[in-house]
């Protein structure tokens, strides 16, 4: 059954270690071709057709394609198209691809697994006739090329020998490596470059557009705009002897000529400026950088800069304006950051980008510029012949390369998403840009669902605690169909030792794990989605609709399976005992927050629901007080709700979310349930409990925040969450009710992200949740929309013996990888939600002009970041530098007698600027305080004449500005108070 030939492969690493590995060569590997009658294939093992149709005009006889590594790496988009079939993938190629780019490797695996594509992966490395030993002194690449050629000629021979009829498929080797092609031809192998092959394919429109541009080697210096990157060995030695550093490049959102790289050795991120400094790095790339000597360190330029609208060709514009403005003046030392430049790219992290085409000015041209939706990605030059069609579409583009002589990276068109401005296309962009899996649920997933008319089986009811007779109700936002929590409270007999009344309080969570069994297709899909994503007008479910809004949803008046957490609580909201069990419940009512509030307030209602709600409400208030006493932070974020037109699904009005007592009532009990479950899990599964932590923010996060609050006359103590919470409570300005909320919004931005983790990966003190001020926390209460809760449910069920454990549940490593995915998806879902809100605000303001009050969030060199509380909108208000002076140390802008600082209240005029379709943006114009010649003046005020006059005055006396500021300061303050 197995051949006994042994080969030794030697590799060296680190301190020169000889590694000897066995390598078995087999004679039982199949060729996978239906044309072969020697290999002992079983029926399902035939992958390649016996007479494949040729799609290429160059080769009009039946043939199989054999791909070289570079073809897979660079032309994956072509391979993903249905055009090419009957392709042989060699193991040599797959391994090289895997080594160089895992993302592409995953994609090619997808293609291979698609039965219709007829891709056969042939294990040539272990086949006795195709194995090639590396010759002494031969490079690995050359050996691999030789292995590919060997496999090609073996296939050709194998198929011809087996077929007496004379009709057998040929082998065509596709490779872009000229050298390889030459040797292959000498050896009698038919070969061709991808470009030649694809250009002669008939019947597949648009295939040519997907061809990746040829890569120009780094050494070619003709018309070079950028300095060459170092070679991998140069980078490696550079990093080893400490001359270079490695890190991930983050482009600035505001300024396309600036970016940062975080390096361990430096406290602050390294600043990179200008085309040359960034040297073709794209956001997310792993780069090698060189840090400049300390004299050249400077501070970030603080200006907002966008790439010019027109196509300047392959030229780099003057950037001295940018750089000189950023030179350190007399500013203090702590604002200076190290600077450096990119000298090499270690690994590209390119993905596909959404955006729009900016057609060339010349009709009929094929080279166009593409503007990505993500501001941090540079524009891309692509080649397409369908520019007329694509100009009005949102399109998806992949990056190919960025040669030294091109100002922009080169890419190719992948697919169109839909017309610009179309709601579905815009949503698709949001989902793609945030990597949200949003395809329909597959057949395999749907097969795991119970039938539509499923009811609770009798034996299941017997196994569970029957709570159907108890008055349970749910409270949710209006229009919520995935109800995953319900509550009840009732007095129980007896008193505590201190003579306090006792209550039984229960939180009942939808029992999703009853339907989502581990390791089923449904479970895997839910795990990969990790969370339900809420866009303004659309919801992307984690589990299919049947479960999320029917069988799992705890709807009023229907019997549902639940996982209950029941406490005995005394009057003062001290928990006396906790128990967990699976149950059957029948919700008495599914209410909205508003309805619940009305029920509580309506003293004439004395029924069970009202009594239950009042008890809950009273207890919740005590729980909340306790939590706050412990140092929990009350943070705020501008949240709004859209009122959506029922027919067009366009937003018609926005309003800030109303917060009622009942909101916090539900929240308190959910927190209590989560904490109780977390304690139980950590005790039972010290190695693999899934918990959630919120690290305390590093003090450096607070510097600008503290500066800003000081200007308003408040000293905030951020040393612990308790003191922070206390001083936030005290920071109230009478007459400015929004000021405190504003502070909390800003404070939220100083925080770290809360993350999921597996208890085995951290020590106990690190479990702390900073925001909630509790030592341990997890998510238990929303299994319909969060996968973390599903895992927690399973663990808890195993704790109480209601369910069996399974291997993957108890594996720390796997729990860790699940956490990574959860955190990633969770973050992306949040960003997607925000993007959707932004999109809808833009639609809302399409035909509107409004004048609203706003608050300054931060002060930049040439702009103010302002927030409009009513809409939760945020954006830059540009200030011309000829009118305003920027104070770098204290961060404020001055124009004659007007000073603008953080937290100041303004009045602004809002309009939508649609001139750039890609980044439609809201334009903010200052209305009040009035700055002559700059502020927008409402037409009826009649101030125009005056303002023009004073504008001239200002221009004439720019030197006086500083003096004036000092005078203006007290004035401003008195205004505020």
């Amino acid at each position: 059954m197995w051949t006994t030939k042994t080969f030794l492969t030697k590799t060296k690493r680190g301190n020169i270690l000889k590694i000897v590995r066995e390598h078995y060569l087999r004679d039982d590997l199949l060729c996978g071709s239906s044309a072969c009658n020697i290999c002992p294939h079983k029926d399902e093992e035939y992958v390649l057709d016996s007479k494949p149709d040729s799609v290429c005009a160059l080769f009009d006889y039946p043939h199989y394609l054999l791909l070289d590594t570079n073809v897979v790496l660079h032309q994956i988009d072509v391979l993903e198209e249905d055009a090419l079939k009957n392709v042989i993938m060699l193991q040599t190629v797959l391994e090289e691809v895997k080594h160089q780019n895992t993302a592409i490797f995953q994609r090619i695996l997808e293609v291979i697994n698609n039965k219709k594509r007829k891709f056969y992966s042939f294990v040539n490395e272990h086949h006795k006739d195709t194995y090639v030993e590396r010759n002494p002194g031969e490079k690995q690449n050359d050996r691999n090329d030789r292995a590919i050629r060997k496999a090609a000629s073996w296939y050709a021979l194998h198929l011809s020998v087996n077929n007496v009829a004379g009709q057998f498929p040929q082998i065509v080797l596709l490779t872009d490596d000229e050298n390889n092609r030459k040797i292959a031809q000498e050896e009698g192998i038919v070969c061709c470059s991808v470009k030649d092959y694809i250009e002669n394919v008939n019947g597949f429109v648009g295939l040519i557009d997907k061809l990746s541009k040829n890569v120009i080697p780094e050494t070619c210096s003709k018309d070079a705009l950028y300095p060459a990157h170092f070679t991998p060995t140069q980078i490696h030695t550079g990093i080893r002897n400490g001359k270079l550093y490695q890190g991930t490049f983050h482009a600035s959102r505001d300024n396309f000529l600036e970016g940062t790289v975080s390096v361990n050795r430096f406290e602050k991120p390294i600043l990179l400026q200008g085309h040359i400094g960034i040297n073709r790095a794209v956001d997310g790339d792993l780069v090698a950088i060189e840090v400049f000597p300390e004299e050249e360190w400077r501070k970030p330029s603080d200006i907002v800069l966008e790439d010019k609208a027109d196509d300047p060709g392959d030229l780099l514009e003057e950037e001295s304006a940018l750089l000189s403005s950023a030179k350190p003046l007399d500013s203090s030392k702590d604002e200076i950051t190290p600077t450096g430049k990119v000298v090499g790219i270690i690994r590209r992290k390119w993905r596909q980008y959404c955006g729009i085409l900016m057609p060339s000015k010349f009709p009929g041209a094929t080279r166009h510029l593409f503007t990505p939706a993500e501001k941090r990605i540079p524009r891309v030059r692509i080649e397409t012949r369908q520019s007329d069609v694509l100009a009005s579409q949102r399109i998806l583009v992949a990056l190919d390369s960025w040669p030294r002589n091109s100002r922009y990276p080169l890419g190719h068109f992948v697919r169109a998403l839909g017309p610009i401005g179309d709601k579905d296309a815009e949503n698709e962009v949001i989902l793609l840009e945030h990597d949200v899996p949003h395809a329909r649920f597959s057949e395999a997933v749907l097969a795991c669902l119970p039938p539509n008319d499923w009811t609770i089986p009798e034996e299941e009811i017997k196994k569970r605690v029957d709570l159907r007779s108890i008055c349970i109700c749910s409270v949710d936002p209006p229009g919520c169909t995935d109800i995953d929590d319900a509550l009840h409270a009732r007095p129980i007999d007896g008193v505590t030792a201190d003579g306090l009344k006792k209550y039984e309080v229960g939180v009942h969570i939808a029992d999703v794990t009853y339907f989502v069994r581990p390791n089923t297709a449904l479970d895997k899909e839910a795990a990969s989605r990790s969370t339900t994503v809420y866009l303004v007008d659309r919801r992307i479910d984690m589990v299919p609709d049947l479960l999320s809004s029917n069988l799992c949803s705890l709807r009023g008046g229907e019997e549902r399976l639940a996982f209950s957490c029941v406490w005995e609580i005394d009057e003062n909201a001290n928990v006396l005992s906790t128990k967990f069990h699976k149950s059957v419940i029948k919700s008495a009512a599914a209410m909205t927050y508003e309805e619940a509030q009305i029920t509580i307030d309506n003293s004439s209602r004395k029924d069970e629901i009202a009594r239950s709600l009042r008890t809950l409400n009273a207890l919740a208030k005590k729980l909340k007080q306790k939590r706050l006493d412990n140092g929990a932070l009350l943070l705020a974020s501008p949240e709004i709700r859209f009122q959506v037109d029922s027919e067009t699904h366009d937003p018609v009005e926005v309003q800030a979310k109303k917060i009622m007592d009942t909101n916090s009532m539900v929240e308190e009990f959910m927190l209590l349930a989560n904490v109780s479950v977390a304690e139980k899990l950590a005790e039972e599964f010290p190695q693999c409990a899934l918990l959630r932590r919120h690290p305390s923010p590093p003090p450096a996060n607070f510097t600008t925040f503290l500066k800003a609050t000081r200007q308003q006359g408040f000293e905030i103590d951020v040393s612990t969450n308790k003191s922070f919470s206390k001083s936030l409570d005290e920071a109230v300005l009478p007459g400015r009710p929004f000021f405190n909320t504003m502070l909390r919004i800003m404070a939220t931005r100083c925080m770290q992200q809360a993350v999921y983790f597996s208890s085995g990966t951290l020590s106990h003190p690190d479990y702390y949740h900073y925001g909630l001020a509790c030592p341990i926390y997890t998510h238990f209460t929303s299994p319909i929309r969060r996968y973390a809760d599903v895992i927690v449910h399973r663990l808890l069920a195993a704790c109480i013996g209601e369910d069996v454990t399974h291997a993957s549940l108890l594996d720390t490593k796997q729990a860790d990888s699940i956490c990574d995915n959860l955190n990633y998806r969770h973050r992306q879902a949040q960003y997607a939600g925000r993007a959707s809100v932004a999109l809808n605000t833009h639609i809302l303001f399409k035909n509107r002009i409004e004048i609203e009050s706003a608050v300054v969030l931060s002060v930049k060199r040439n702009a103010l970041q302002v927030l409009i509380p009513k809409y939760g909108l945020e954006g830059p208000l540009y200030l011309p530098s000829d009118k305003f002076t920027y104070n770098e140390e204290e961060h404020y802008q001055i124009c004659s007698d007007v000073t603008l600082k953080t937290f100041d209240e303004l009045t602004v005029r809002l309009t939508l600027d649609s001139t750039n379709l890609q980044h439609r943006k809201l334009v903010f114009q200052l209305v009040k305080p009035h700055v002559p010649g700059f502020s927008y003046v409402p037409e009826d005020s009649g101030m125009e004449v005056e303002s023009v006059a004073s504008a001239e005055e200002v221009k004439e006396t720019p030197i006086k500005k500083r003096k004036e500021t000092k005078q203006s300061k007290p004035k401003k303050k008195s205004k505020n108070q």
Binding site: T4, E22, L25, L109
Partner: protein, 250 residues
Amino acid sequence: MPGPDLLSSQGLRLDGRRPNELRRIRCKLGVFTQPDGSAYLEQGNTKVLAAVYGPHQASKSKSTTEGVVVNCQYSMATFSTGERKNRPRGDRKSQEMSLHLRQALTAAIKTELYPRSQIDIYVEVLQADGGAYCAGVNAASLALIDAGIPLRAYACACSASMAWRNGEPEPLLDVGHVEEAAGGVVLTVASLPNTGSIALLEMSHRLHMDYFKVVLSRAMQGCRDIEIILDKAVRDHLAEGWTKQDVVTI
């Protein structure tokens, strides 16, 4: 799940074996003339020498009337691993291995036949590439036969591990060094395949109960396969003419 994929999508392991295949086993009995019995065994790149002295009179302190005392020593040559080993024997791991060897071999030897005597078994690992203990048991088994000591059955040892192929669990037989280092669980079984009894069972990590059965049955299958190979080697050795005293250079 362990980091690298131990099984490719075509179902081959890193070295080209299928999950249920052993490494190549080559062995030779009677490689030395000095001991009463000796054997050399290769399992892939793991190479082991075993020598047996006895039965001879036991030292006073050890001797029992119950049966023979089996004395084992497991040692690894300093050059057996990738990085040079400092202590060939006497360290914790070797001591543990010696105990394990004794447990497995005592189960195979008909100890009751030789009261008040002693058998010394020396196992020397020349090259370690995973599964050195298993190879040691198999080699010692052969050496005991070469020494003419009555056995109940062949003592065979084999290891097994777990891997996933397309999300399905698939146990791997006869784990090599690369697969061991990947961090998965390794289950080592020493058994008397003839009788189906297990002499020693050891596991390196935690493994969920769901998978234990399949892994164990695969390891037991491995022991049976090894027994066939050992049995053939013994028969070939005897057929070759056991009178011929050939000293083989390794």
